[in-house]
Subunit: 151 residues, 2 copies
DNA sequence: TATTGTTATACTCTATAACTATA
DNA sequence: TATAGTTATAGAGTATAACAATA
């Protein structure tokens, strides 16, 4: 197996493990990974239209309607009228929604710390830099491919 | 942001990009990521019972029934009677299924090669080793946590 | 005309529980 | 009694297309 494939496999395997682990705290609650992801995006961007959320999450507007419906029912977000555009609605985090995001953030840090506990600091930096380089590069590659396809 | 979090984020971001990219060739076909994953496992293990597939994929037996139904309908796998246990069925790859796996394997290699194209060989090896170490460690951590929970 | 969000419809992945046939 | 696979049922994520209200 080439080093290239070892890297690809390592990333996918690790991501799968992490994803299962992240989903666990939501068991028995109304939250799911997709809904939590929306909260996370919303916290990063501030109050947003559903269109903006759809774009940010690379998902259809219809999908956002469903996620927001569920999160509104569970009290994590609220729909408020857009101040200037009466077609649009602004989705905002409620206090409960903010609490959940805060908790997710601390879980993420704990998880990350546990993950790299056996790596020496220089190794950590090298690994982080390598991954970021690959992700940046990959994103650029996909963007180029998408443009070529449009032509 | 700590290096630990940079690593976690890098892994998740990269996995997301790769996953979207891997799903693309299936558009317009009857194949999906889950079905393709079953083909991949089946190729690695050889003819398997549905129970074995469920365990290997960490998924319910019922789920396997559905995936195999679809893959059987599309001609990628066949159900054959188990030679000694009449309760069980053996799932096997058809020629079409094998062709698809071969194609996926070469796409994976191409994708991996593109991904790391700008990394020098020593960097590649370090990155691969780092990721494998983290994944192994994480898997062990989860196994321990699961045992503790059972007590 | 174009855009925002929703209704209508459909497919897929996933799970648990009950059931049948077999071990 | 236990196991393999299926039927029954249900929730969740996702998409496209048509539509109403508004820009």
């Amino acid at each position: 197996m080439t080093d290239a494939v070892r890297i690809l496999d390592g990333v996918m395997r690790l991501a799968d493990l992490v994803q299962r682990d992240m989903a666990e705290p939501f068991a028995g609650t109304s939250l799911t990974m997709s809904r939590a992801a929306l909260l996370w995006v919303l916290d990063a961007t501030g109050p947003s239209t559903q269109q903006a959320l759809a774009t940010a999450m690379s998902v259809s507007p219809r999908n956002i309607t469903g996620l927001v419906d569920a999160l509104e029912a569970s009290g994590h977000v609220a729909r408020t009228p857009h101040p200037t555009d009466r077609r649009a609605t602004l989705v905002t985090l409620t206090e409960l929604g903010r609490d959940v995001v805060t908790q997710m953030a601390s879980q993420r840090e704990q998880m990350a710390a546990d993950l790299v506990a056996e790596l020496a600091p220089p190794e950590r930096d090298a690994l982080a830099a390598g991954l970021e380089k690959l992700a940046d590069r990959y994103e650029a590659m996909l963007a180029v491919a998408r443009e070529e396809e449009e032509r």
